[in-house]
């Protein structure tokens, strides 16, 4: 005979303000097998927990039912309490009379009280069928995977590697570095971005515990925390990276023209290219999609022989390479190579993209002198398309007037309702850098608000005003195209309530930060959800910024939401700390609330096998007969197999038939 202890919580006034807690306590006392029924103000407080523990120690109760808030947050607390008092923690049941009762029936106190009684009776009924269960453990693979080699990913990887864990970094571009590698300088110190990033990139590239897999993409993720099996596609480079020295001769020789992604489309690269001068690893790739197969030089075939010279005709990239790293006669597999990794935890740090100007119809997007801020960043960068000379894209002339427009696509119900957080600061940075170099340059900045929350940020902004940069409050409404590719700016000065109209040579749009389309597929592959703003969703907006709802998968950097470099680095390090926990613990706890097949009752019919959504069931031979067996690591305790088994051979621990029938009876009586 079980001795059930019932504990009803007031939860301050959350429950007691609607439900008659005294009446519920009275009701519970009369239920069969209930040894004791108590109530208190806050069950989760030390006093409340002590109440339960004392009853256990005194031998009064051997099952505990708490009627309070949600098991989602509080079940672990009470289970710990049972355990510390010496009672098996799975002999615990919780009735949610807050979220499912007092919070939703606030206008019907009588009805809410009756419902509370029913919910409690159901929990008591369930608890009668509970058995003591033991946690199971699975070994953890002490490796980590970081998806994304931008600044957040790099710092995550370095932390994990320094802790001693083997860390794979999978990056889809030929080099790590991400968007930070495209920046000229960083606010508010005006540090040269490459100068502060390259040392860290090199450290990551040479760390004994880090394996960089660049020009690679994650294809499939299987398994669960501590035991992920990840398939990574190493894309075909068409260049032997063991021989390639990164000299760049092939890139110079290649005649193909492809918009250069690193320079935000401002100029072209070849099909054979090196991502950027400070690339890590500095290796060339041939972008076969845009390769024009010079001299008819198909991959996997011998070169054609020239009729004139009688010599074989090689492609310019092959001829140029001094290290013989490019050999187009080889039979390359265009799909590259699939590599399987075993890792214990995964950090997603895939970064962001900025919206393109073509989205903004009123901003003359076809004009060559309307550019995004990232394009401006490349224009003023020494490794950019103009070698750092500030020239207008249309005619390579020096601009005399530059306009900065804020909030394009951000804070906008037509695109993204959120603020992209970094634009105010980077616009001010770009304006300051330009004004410093070209004091006669007329710079007009148009903001809705100026957002500078960070260390030394507001001082940086005030400094911009002191330099003579013109700052206006009022969003630019549109641009009109003038002769010689100039733009007429239609703006408004809110502070003096006057419309503004002037001619500008170059207009820079601060376009919104967002995730690329490819993020959807990646989210599905890794098991990460999206939040309302279409970034990857963290576990809890306040208290769970690096975890996700999938155990073992963590987030870092802008893929979780727009942020600047210091915040990305902080989140990267935080994600590494959280990701290291299962690795450090060495084992992962599996909750025993899963299904189990009674081998003697199982008839080997196999009905359960295809029903399992997690592919956790397999038929195995036992004593020359087939019997079903459930993999405890894969089973999620959904119960489908349990209800389908015609022999009744499967038990879902924690949800036995006895428990469920007791619940049904309690709820329908």
């Amino acid at each position: 005979m079980p001795k059930i202890g019932v504990y009803v919580c007031h939860c301050g006034s959350n429950i007691a303000g609607v439900v008659d807690v005294e009446a519920v306590r009275d009701f519970a006392e009369e239920l069969p097998d209930v040894a004791v029924s108590r109530k208190t103000l806050f069950m989760c407080s030390d006093a409340g927990q002590e109440m339960i523990k004392q009853d256990i120690r005194d031998g009064i109760v051997d099952r505990v039912v708490v009627a309070a808030c949600t098991p989602r947050t509080h079940e672990p607390i009470f289970r710990k309490a049972l355990e510390s008092a010496g009672l098996n923690k799975y002999l615990f049941e919780m009735a949610n009379i807050r979220d499912q009762d007092s919070w939703v029936h606030a206008n019907d106190k009588e009805g809410a009280t009756e419902k509370a009684k029913k919910l409690l009776a159901s929990a008591v009924g369930k608890s009668r069928g509970l058995e003591p269960l033991e946690d199971k453990y699975v070994e953890v693979t002490p490796n980590a995977l970081v998806i994304g080699g931008g600044v957040a990913g790099i710092f995550s990887a370095l932390e994990l590697a320094d802790m001693g864990y083997k860390t794979y970094v999978v990056e889809k571009e030929p080099s790590i570095g991400g968007v930070m590698a495209q920046l000229d300088k960083t606010f508010p110190t005006n540090d040269c971005s490459a100068c502060i990033l390259t040392p860290v990139m090199v450290e990551a590239g040479t760390h004994p515990n880090i394996e960089l897999m660049t020009y690679s993409e994650v294809q499939e993720v299987d398994g669960f925390i501590g035991n992920f099996k990840v398939k990574v596609r190493k894309k075909q480079t068409y260049v032997d990276w063991n021989k390639c020295t990164g000299c760049g001769a092939c890139a110079e020789a290649c005649p193909a023209k492809v918009p250069d992604e690193f320079n935000a489309g401002l100029n072209n690269r070849g099909a054979a290219y090196i991502h950027f001068p400070q690339a890590v690893p500095k290796k060339a790739v041939v972008d076969m999609e845009h390769c024009i197969n010079c001299a008819g030089r198909e991959i996997g075939q011998e070169p054609k022989i020239s009729k004139k010279t009688g010599k074989p005709r090689y492609a310019p990239c092959e001829k140029a390479c001094p290290a013989e790293a490019i050999n187009r006669s080889l039979e390359y597999d265009p799909k590259g190579e699939i590599v399987e990794l075993d890792v214990g935890t995964i950090i997603v740090a895939t970064g962001y993209q900025v919206m393109g100007k073509e989205n903004f119809k009123e901003m003359a997007p076809d004009s060559p002198n309307v550019i995004t801020a990232l394009q401006l960043e490349r224009l003023i960068s020494a490794t950019g398309p103009t070698d750092g000379k500030f020239l207008r894209p249309s005619d390579n002339e020096k601009p005399k007037t530059v306009t900065f427009v804020s909030c394009m696509g951000s804070r906008d119900v037509n695109f993204h309702t959120y603020c992209s957080r970094i634009c105010c600061m980077y616009m001010i940075k770009q304006a300051r850098l330009l004004k410093e170099k070209y004091p006669d340059l007329n710079i007009n900045m148009h903001f809705i608000d100026v957002r500078c929350a960070g260390k030394d940020y507001d001082e940086y902004y005030v400094g911009a005003r002191k330099m003579g940069i013109n700052i206006f409050k009022g969003k630019v409404g549109g641009l009109e195209t003038l002769p010689q590719d100039r733009l007429r700016v239609m703006a408004y000065d809110m502070e003096s309530c006057t419309p503004i109209e002037y001619d500008s040579d170059l207009v820079v749009l601060a376009t919104a930060v967002e995730l690329p389309e490819t993020a959807k597929k990646l989210g599905q592959t890794v098991g990460v959800q999206f939040c309302g703003a279409n970034f990857f969703k963290e576990m809890h907006p306040k208290l769970g910024p690096v975890e996700t709802s999938t155990g073992g998968v963590f987030l870092a950097g802008c893929c979780q939401g727009p942020k600047d470099i210091p915040d990305s680095v902080a989140q990267g390090k935080g994600a590494a700390a959280s990701a290291a926990v299962p690795l450090a613990q060495g084992r992962v706890t599996i909750e025993p609330l899963i299904s189990e097949v009674d081998q003697d009752k199982c008839s080997g019919c196999g009905i359960c096998v295809p029903l399992c959504p997690y592919s956790a069931i397999k038929l195995r031979e036992k004593d020359e007969k087939l019997r079903a067996a459930i993999d405890i690591a894969q089973c999620k305790g959904c119960g489908v197999c349990t209800s389908a088994c015609p022999s009744g051979a499967i038990t879902l621990h924690g949800y036995t038939e006895e428990s469920i029938f007791n619940q049904i009876e309690a709820l329908t009586s």
Partner: protein, 170 residues
């Protein structure tokens, strides 16, 4: 001294405008994009779009009622097209116009068209219209309500039964 922020007055102002059809007004974050493209503002009309909304959100409905800038709104709707918060500023301006009109604080140039509208069904009429029409080969009497008594009576019935009828201008 200075503008007194009276919560009750603000709520009433907002409610008035919303009831007259400007239901997007509370979405406004005062970004100013509407004013940047408004032909009225660009031509120099002092109180339109963003500033008009600011006055309403400050509770200054009565204090702004004499402002004739609102009667210059072209309904071009550039503001509606580019507003990033879905305010539909043109509808707010017109809601304010309705507030003004119901107090007869309208531009003097509006009375003529109104009377013409009531009498003939057309806000604009021209004396030599029939001549001009015949000159180009059309029937001097256009197929509209201009000379159609029945149609005029229908319109007058609608206008008499409407809030406009209560203004005593017809």
């Amino acid at each position: 001294m200075g503008l007194e922020i009276d919560g009750k007055k603000i709520n009433e102002a907002v409610k008035t405008i919303v009831d007259y059809g400007g239901d997007g007004i509370l979405n406004c974050v005062q970004c100013g994009a509407c004013s940047a493209v408004c032909p009225g503002v660009r031509a120099g009309m002092p109180v339109l779009c963003r500033l008009l909304i600011r006055r309403i959100l400050n509770g200054q409905l009565e204090e702004t009622i004499e402002e004739m800038s609102t009667w210059a709104c072209q309904s071009c709707n550039r503001c509606t097209e580019i507003c990033p918060q879905g305010v539909r500023p043109q509808e707010v301006v017109f809601a304010f116009r309705r507030y003004q009109a119901n107090d007869l604080a309208i531009s003097t140039s509006a009375f003529g068209p109104l009377m013409s509208f009531y009498e003939t069904g057309h806000a604009v009429t021209v004396k030599d219209a029939a001549e001009k029409r015949e000159q180009v080969g059309l029937d001097g009497n256009p197929p509209t309500s201009l000379n159609d008594e029945e149609a005029q009576k229908e319109l007058q019935a609608l206008l008499d039964a409407s809030p406009m009828g209560e203004l005593g201008i017809f």
